[in-house]
């Protein structure tokens, strides 16, 4: 046994180096979760995670009693659910529409263009939103005003009532095209003879989509849906709840834009309340785990397919 390890010494060395890196950056922070139940002080470093005093559920209780606790939970869940409802069907629809295009050039063009924003940083996207929707000569308000459609500029970026819509809409703009890839791949795997047979039987376009395309990609839809539900609190498929609330949230729309993640960030890194912020993070992870297993369970019961 030792001789074979010795012979493979480079291979073992390479793998172990990789494992050390993964241990430090992926596994070690897991122990940090203990902080949520401890009187942790940052000056004690990594060791302090283990040596500091236990305080039980103190930080959780404090969090539940925070004055804006209810509003933050409402925002987190509200934005996430809206994203799930409105952005989940869009890539499916888009994939079906693209699949029905006859011209290969046009299809490729629309595809290429619609994936592109996925690769652009949220910073740039927020910058674009400002250029377009600012109340001072933002191009949209500018155009609507000069066309006489509105009398007053719409304060999309500062009016709290618009924030949820802004978050859902901009996330859809950025990510919907990207998720069509997976559905298009699923559609292109379907048997073309099914369509030909249906056409001979007199089924029109919509009927073929409804009876062949949609049932054909049901498995993919279920898997992607479970992924979306699992990452629900991060924003689902389109993600970016944190980025949006951090970048597009401001003093004016704070009541509708503050979510658990931005609050944890402000408490933790900005105010140095490390243990408290860890408790908020942990609570969020717990909800996410429950959602993954829950949705997988329901999906297995109802459609007989699941992730695991």
């Amino acid at each position: 046994m030792w001789s074979s390890i010795k012979r493979q010494k480079y291979a073992h060395m390479f793998v172990l180096t990789g494992m050390l890196i993964v241990f430090i950056f992926q596994y070690l922070p897991m122990f940090g979760i203990l902080m949520a139940f401890k009187q942790y002080s940052i000056t004690t470093g990594i060791k302090g995670i283990f040596t500091s005093q236990w305080v039980g559920l103190k930080y959780f209780v404090e969090f539940f009693n925070a004055y804006n606790f209810e509003q933050m939970v409402k925002n987190t869940i509200g934005i996430s659910l809206l994203k799930l409802v409105f952005t989940f069907p869009v890539p499916i629809l888009l994939a079906i529409m693209l699949n029905e295009v006859k011209s290969r050039f046009f299809k490729r063009f629309v595809q290429t263009v619609s994936y592109f924003p996925h690769f652009i940083s949220w910073i740039v996207v927020s910058g674009l939103l400002v250029i377009f929707f600012s109340t001072n000569s933002g191009i949209v308000n500018d155009a609507l005003l000069s066309l006489g459609i509105i009398e007053e500029p719409i304060a999309l970026l500062s009016d709290p009532d618009y924030f949820w819509g802004l978050a859902v809409g901009s996330a859809m703009w950025k990510e919907a095209g990207w998720w069509t890839i997976i559905f298009l791949a699923a559609i292109s795997g379907l048997d073309p003879s099914l369509y030909e047979a249906a056409e001979i039987d007199g089924a029109g376009r919509l009927k073929r989509i409804w009876h062949i395309t949609l049932p054909g990609i049901r498995g993919t839809i279920v898997v992607v849906l479970i992924l979306a539900v699992g990452s629900l609190l991060g924003g689902g498929l389109v993600g970016s709840n944190f980025e949006q609330s951090y970048l597009l949230g401001n003093v004016m729309n704070n009541e509708k834009s503050e979510i658990l993640q931005t609050y944890a960030f402000k408490m933790g890194l900005a105010q140095g309340r490390y243990a408290f912020a860890t408790a908020i993070d942990l609570l969020q992870s717990l909800i996410a785990i429950i959602l993954v297993f829950g949705s997988n369970y329901i999906s297995k019961k109802t459609t007989k397919s699941g992730l695991f």
């Binding site: 480079y10 291979a11 990789g18 902080m35 740039v124 400002v130 890839i181 919509l206 970048l247």
Partner: protein, 293 residues
């Protein structure tokens, strides 16, 4: 082959119409951004520009290039993109080569360690504590070291290396080549497409990141281009207002906001350039998104 029915015609009409609208809504913002970047900043505040610069100028770009703060962050972004991609490729491929090694002892155990690692996350604060303990905070290395092993690409690389015919390795071994030599002289040259894909995806991720700059760095000299843009966005949601216009030098017509838009163009440009190459790897890329889910 078959007759086009009325349903076909109506369907196609609306289908093409809607898809064209989507294409316009996606491309126009980028086009408009470029237009504004070539327009006099003070003039832009008046509005009414839609398709073409009204007061054409290169001043925004020359101002960007001569501003030491913007240039500093521009170089930090370039450096982290290059160094980050290199470090990730280096460590990920080495580990993958080890994992793909024929009859490696403990292979299953090693492999599951990585797979489990993909799903573990302690959250932001514990991560911060670890980085602090390692002395990585406020250093350039915090941008590039933590991502040294990309577990998704590790899995891709292992299966890629395993597909390299064993005979090639055998014959090299008979010629007296060591493991290291085989890795550098045989495996890596054969894996150029894999290395390219990794470099592109990791590079784009590095180029776009700003969260780590916001979380783990408070040294002005280490800010990335995206972070610098964020500062301006956060300064005010209506940067086109009179105040910022006043602050601008009346001679050059450059405002804080017009430089910001120029920076946005500069941030998008490299991605646009590598985009055609990225496209080849989309199907793999989407799997990356799903496993990270």
């Amino acid at each position: 082959m078959h007759r086009r029915t009325n349903e076909d015609r109506i369907f196609d009409f609306f289908n093409i119409l809607i898809l064209s609208l989507i294409a316009i809504v996606t491309t126009y913002p980028f086009y408009y951004m470029v237009v504004i970047s070539f327009n006099n900043g003070l003039d832009s505040t008046l509005g009414g520009i839609y398709f073409w610069p009204r007061d054409f100028t290169f001043n925004n770009y020359s101002e960007f290039l001569s501003d030491p703060k913007w240039m500093q962050s521009f170089f930090v972004s370039i450096a982290r993109t290059l160094v980050g991609a290199f470090i990730t490729i280096w460590f990920t491929c080495l580990a993958a080569y080890g994992l793909a090694y024929k009859n490696l002892k403990f292979q299953k155990l090693y492999y599951s360690f990585f797979i489990v690692g993909m799903y573990t996350a302690g959250g932001l604060i514990p991560y911060y504590v670890v980085l602090r303990g390692l002395g990585l905070l406020n250093t350039f290395w915090v941008y590039v070291i933590p991502g040294a092993i990309n577990i998704f690409f590790l899995i891709v690389a292992v299966s890629f290396f395993k597909e390299i015919p064993a005979e090639m390795e055998e014959s090299a071994r008979i010629d007296g080549a060591s493991d290291l030599k085989i890795y550098y002289k045989l495996i890596l040259p054969l894996s150029k497409p894999l290395l390219a894909a990794m470099g592109l995806f990791v590079g784009v991720g590095q180029w776009n990141s700003w969260l780590d700059s916001a979380y783990f760095v408070n040294n002005d000299g280490l800010r990335t281009l995206t972070y610098r843009m964020m500062e301006i966005i956060n300064q005010g949601m209506s940067p086109l207002d009179a105040e910022s216009a006043e602050r601008a030098a009346a001679v050059t017509g450059v405002t804080t906001f017009s430089i910001q838009i120029t920076a946005m163009v500069i941030a998008v440009l490299p991605i646009l350039c590598v985009y055609p190459f990225l496209q080849k790897y989309f199907v793999k890329g989407i799997m990356l998104g799903s496993v990270k889910g």
